[in-house]
């Protein structure tokens, strides 16, 4: 039973021929290569960051988050086809989500400072600090060392 009122058949609108298909496939593979290269760069930077002392710096965080957004954009715009949709639909998906996430992060940052006040600042057991110190001094223990 095929229920179909007087709406246009949107399902069939995406159907294309072999020529367009070849062009579409080339674009998709290009996006894949971009994602692969970006991931490899992220991994390399993530690998060398501790030995260069970049851990926890703002620059590193900015770098990673930017690259992640690039990858996310590649997936959403090309793999999920959002780039070729109506502009209004793009806004419908992206604008509420962005507003909500930005607001969440903003609220966390501004209202979350209570956790650093003396009342909530629980004393983390010094075992954990010792462990971090030990790891910092054995900085290179991950270089092909058998445990």
């Amino acid at each position: 039973m095929h229920f179909h009122d007087n709406y246009p058949e949107y399902e069939k609108m995406a159907i294309h021929g072999e020529e367009e298909g070849k062009k579409a496939r080339r674009v998709l593979w290009n996006v894949f290569w971009v994602m692969l290269v970006v991931t490899i760069i992220e991994l390399i930077i993530g690998f060398i960051a501790p030995s260069k002392g970049w851990t926890g710096t703002f620059g590193l965080k900015f770098f990673f988050i930017t690259l992640t957004l690039v990858k996310a954009g590649g997936i959403v715009l090309y793999f999920m086809h959002l780039k070729h949709e109506t502009t209004f639909f793009k806004y419908t998906i992206l604008v509420p989500y962005s507003i909500f996430m930005l607001y969440t992060i903003f609220i966390l940052l501004t209202e979350g400072t209570y956790s650093m006040s003396p009342r909530f600042r629980n004393k983390v057991d010094k075992l954990y600090y010792e462990q971090q110190e030990k790891l910092k001094n054995n900085e290179h223990h991950f270089e092909n060392v058998e445990h």
Partner: protein, 244 residues
């Protein structure tokens, strides 16, 4: 129906009066997108909570490159290598999924079958890899770490060497790290699992010619959207947990 994509000629004023979709999309696709937005909000909330905790306890938070160092069949410790491979597997499966969608848009049934099979295999490989990561995380290293463990006989906390991480003790650092790791990667892994199940169902439908009879492969596109969403979330989880 015209084969030009998204070329419905409609008077702007009539756009919202019914009888036509203002987004030029079918109902099912729009609803899948809306569901993905809601799911993305869930994961966004979880990852924001993780970021908040991670920076609250930044001085004692474990470093991912010291924790995730295992690689199958390799004895040496290579930080982040296996997780990089998992990311590659998932991105690859996303590519095969979009190729399946593209084949469906050419009514190429064989192409859809091949690429969907590759996607399902990629998904299963990712699930297996994630399970292996969990196993290594739970079993822990040989040297372990000193922790306060509740001793029932003595009725108090005693210091003990613990190995690995579970719901009560965590060798790698403070308990929140293990809690967040299990919860968020578990939640994501469950999404991957349900994605694989959906893919298998639609794959069987394609095999049986259900899509052929309908005349379009839009169902493949819809589960494709879900699968790409799963990949998208993993990209963020990968960055937040393993890189930052």
């Amino acid at each position: 129906m015209s084969h030009a994509a998204h070329a419905t000629v409609v008077d702007e004023k009539e756009l919202w009066n019914g009888g036509v979709s203002p987004f030029n999309l079918s109902y099912g696709k729009i609803m899948m997108w809306f569901f993905l937005v809601s799911d993305a909000l869930t994961f966004g909330g979880l990852l924001s909570a993780y970021g908040f905790m991670r920076h609250r306890f930044a001085d004692v938070w474990p470093h991912a490159e010291h924790v995730f160092v295992h690689f199958p069949f390799v004895k040496e410790h290579i930080p982040l290598a296996y997780v990089g491979l998992m990311t590659f597997i998932l991105i690859m499966s996303s590519v095969t999924m979009v190729l399946a969608v593209e084949a469906g848009q050419r009514n190429d049934k064989k192409g859809v079958i091949i690429w969907m099979l590759a996607t399902i295999i990629g998904g299963l490989m990712f699930l297996g890899s994630q399970a292996w990561e969990w196993y290594n995380f739970i079993v822990g290293t040989e040297e372990g770490a000193l922790r306060w463990v509740w001793d029932d006989e003595q009725g108090k906390y005693v210091q003990q060497i613990v190995h690995g991480a579970n719901m009560t003790v965590n060798e790698y650092g403070i308990p929140q790290f293990a809690n967040f790791f299990f919860f968020i990667t578990g939640f994501h892994g469950f999404h991957v699992f349900s994605g694989v199940v959906l893919n298998v169902i639609i794959f069987i439908q394609v095999l049986n010619g259900v899509m052929e009879k309908r005349g379009h492969y839009e169902m493949v596109e819809k589960v494709g959207l879900y699968w790409h969403f799963v990949d998208l979330v993993w990209v963020f989880v990968f960055t937040f947990f393993y890189l930052l």
